[in-house]
Symmetry: C2
Subunit: 421 residues, 2 copies
């Protein structure tokens, strides 16, 4: 009787899924990695694609390229439709994939908290396509504004609102400001950029970057305001249509561009597994990262809910990758029939955010840093984590170039239809 | 009475239009440059985007970035709809643009010679969007083939046909071969790449690269065949549907991918000007590059027809840029009221084509070169012509990297819809 290798199915090729697959690639197991895209996306730099700094290929890495030398890792491009937990199967449009062990690492998507008008009228920024949409749209707004004669319409076209004072909102607003005031100002000879453009950052609570100490939060607001970003704290968005954003106090902002970075939830397919989920759709796992009542099924990263020190762990890459390590150890323990299972404890690696070229804030425990050296550290950390030596070099060059000259060559509108007629 | 500066309108931001606008930027004139895209496209390298070597931003350069310091050059993103030659106006969806002098430099598009089935079922490769379509489609074919159980369907999915033995067809076929046999073969563990993939290059006449001397043409066919490209000369395509390409002798090729690089014609809007055009829709110009009967209207590049040594000039970049120089001189002569007009003579700069990494052919007059040094020369010439120092450096790196390791990081499928459900 030939021995069949255990088959581990991983849903999602994000930070957690790729880490788990890499760890399992050298084991005596078969791995099927399923993702709806053919690339691993470096989500923390999405805002740089949306603001024309980096190219698509620099933050997206072909998933199969990680596993060239590992015949036991199979990739499958598929949108998972559901699960058959009784028969241990993942349901895809093409076939049912049987598993012995399952790792749910499908990540998160934008959370509109049930406000459908916002979902239809604003731009999310969780996927590569969304970042490209934002880029195309913002560039288009400048083109349209330049040929617009009505000053009110022009101002509306050139009002850009980011909602959400977390790292994504802060980084997007800071980067947009530099795109506008360093690059666009020299290229739209028919626009009065200083008069006509507004960039607004809206945050519902009284603080941006909640994971940072108070003085760095103040510094962030100060730097953003020095970049002409209109930072509005304690401000809640209640409605939005094509031309108007409405705030809770009844005031409105005339704008055609609202970028929604105010919340995330687990991707919807996770709830189809059938296990208990929290309000954001995350699977509740035990300390070994297993899903209770489903032996051999694990969840990690943004789609898993585990509390530590009384709070759910944050939806950030280090939680996912550290989770992948423990999850793989526990799967090996189960395969080897060892009774002991490791419990997961997240080790804080600190947090950081860029506010612009040469400006960043970072903190870890009581240690903190800001300004140019924090930005250098941010750059090094992100370069180290990007996939592919080649990418590291080109991205390092682009960032240096952008720092020195403010140049942004990604300003290519890709969604204008060809016209053959 | 304040003196109004002469207004020159340029249609098209290709090689000819950009060159003309740059030359006019330092003159005492107003320039409006109109293009349907916001970028200048380096068309000779489109095949490298379609085969995942280069990123979009590396061959597309934001048109406005050329004219940062020139307030007298205005860019307008618009699809020209027609002309009013009597009132000297260009008609766009937004407004009519009045001109004193007009330069038609709108370029060319794919020519299907009236065969509509081919237009619907094949991929053109003249625009950035078309190159991205090809890239997305080819990558998808591999993903679909790997999960396909029917061997006939799988082979059809993995049969890639390029029609047209000019530089585009030759370069595309050579580059596809390397993508498949150097990159894909290590990443699709479920496919038998050598068995299942076919790459076919079809040419209607008895030769590829007609502008090259016979021995270089033979060398090109030899190198392509050594790369497993099935080169078929004297072969004519007559029909195509989603799954089948039909040849004139009745044989068929089962394929889902036909790239049509067998002909070009002027973009359709050119014929709307009203002047005499040739069979390919090109405006017939006199030796001063003026359109007969339309004083002050010039045509250059792919959309102009001028004979030299008894043959129409080729649709290549050097003809367009050299034409732009003469055209601008003649416009200045007209502005200054000088009677003498310069006649255009194209000075051959030679021709070159890459067949793959480290393999190229080039010739100029009786001088010729092939192999690795020709490839190096090809690389230097193309780098020199690419817009932007920064781009030069990243592209040079990518080519070197690709030469040494065969890596291609552009394999990102960008057209899979996000799913929020």
């Amino acid at each position: 009787m030939s021995e069949k290798k255990p088959h581990i199915v991983i849903i999602g090729a994000g930070f957690g899924g790729i880490k788990a697959a890499k760890l399992l690639a050298n084991e005596n197991v078969d791995v099927t990695l399923i993702d709806r895209n053919n690339y691993h996306l470096f989500q923390p730099l999405l805002y740089q694609v949306s603001t024309s700094i980096l190219a698509i290929d620099e933050i997206a890495y072909p998933t199969r390229a990680f596993f060239r030398k590992h015949n036991n890792v199979r990739f499958m491009l598929a949108h998972v439709q559901g699960f058959d937990a009784v028969n241990k199967e993942v349901i895809t449009p093409y076939k049912r994939v049987k598993y012995d062990y399952l790792i749910l690492a499908a990540g998160s998507t934008t959370n509109y908290f049930g406000m459908n008008n916002l979902a239809y009228s604003t731009y999310g920024m969780k996927t590569l396509r969304e970042a490209i949409h934002i880029r195309n749209h913002v560039l288009h707004m400048f083109e349209r504004a330049e040929r617009e004669s009505d000053p009110e319409v022009r101002k509306r076209m050139l009002t850009f609102v980011c909602v959400g004072g977390g790292p994504t909102g802060v980084e997007e607003a800071g980067s947009l400001s530099e795109l506008v005031y360093h690059v666009m100002k020299d290229e739209y000879h028919g626009l009065n950029i200083k008069e006509d453009v507004s960039i607004v950052l809206i945050e519902a609570t009284d603080k941006v970057l909640p994971m940072m100490p108070p003085d760095l939060r103040d510094e962030t607001v100060r730097v953003l305001r020095s970049k002409k970003v209109d930072v509005r704290l304690n401000t809640q968005v209640v409605d939005c249509d094509e031309n108007t954003l409405t705030l809770k106090d009844g005031t409105t902002i005339a704008t055609n561009t609202v970028i929604w970075a105010a919340g995330v939830k687990a991707v919807p397919v996770i709830s189809k597994f059938g296990a208990e989920v929290d309000r954001a759709g995350r699977v509740i796992v035990d300390k070994t990262l297993q899903v209770p009542n489903y032996p051999g099924v694990f969840a990690i990263g943004d789609c898993a809910h585990l509390e530590q020190d009384g709070r759910p762990l944050a939806t950030i890459a280090p939680v996912a990758t550290q989770g992948a390590v423990v999850c793989v150890k526990n799967i090996k323990n189960l395969i080897n029939g060892q009774g002991t299972m490791e419990e997961f404890t997240y080790h804080d690696v600190g947090s950081m955010a860029t506010i612009g070229r040469g400006e960043a804030v970072m903190s870890k425990g009581s240690w903190k840093m800001k300004g140019f050296f924090a930005w250098c550290a941010w750059m090094v950390v992100h370069l180290m984590r990007l996939a592919g030596t080649h990418t590291n070099v080109t991205v390092a060059m682009k960032w240096t170039w952008n720092l020195l000259s403010g140049i942004r060559l990604g300003r290519i509108i890709t969604n204008i239809p060809d016209n053959r007629e």
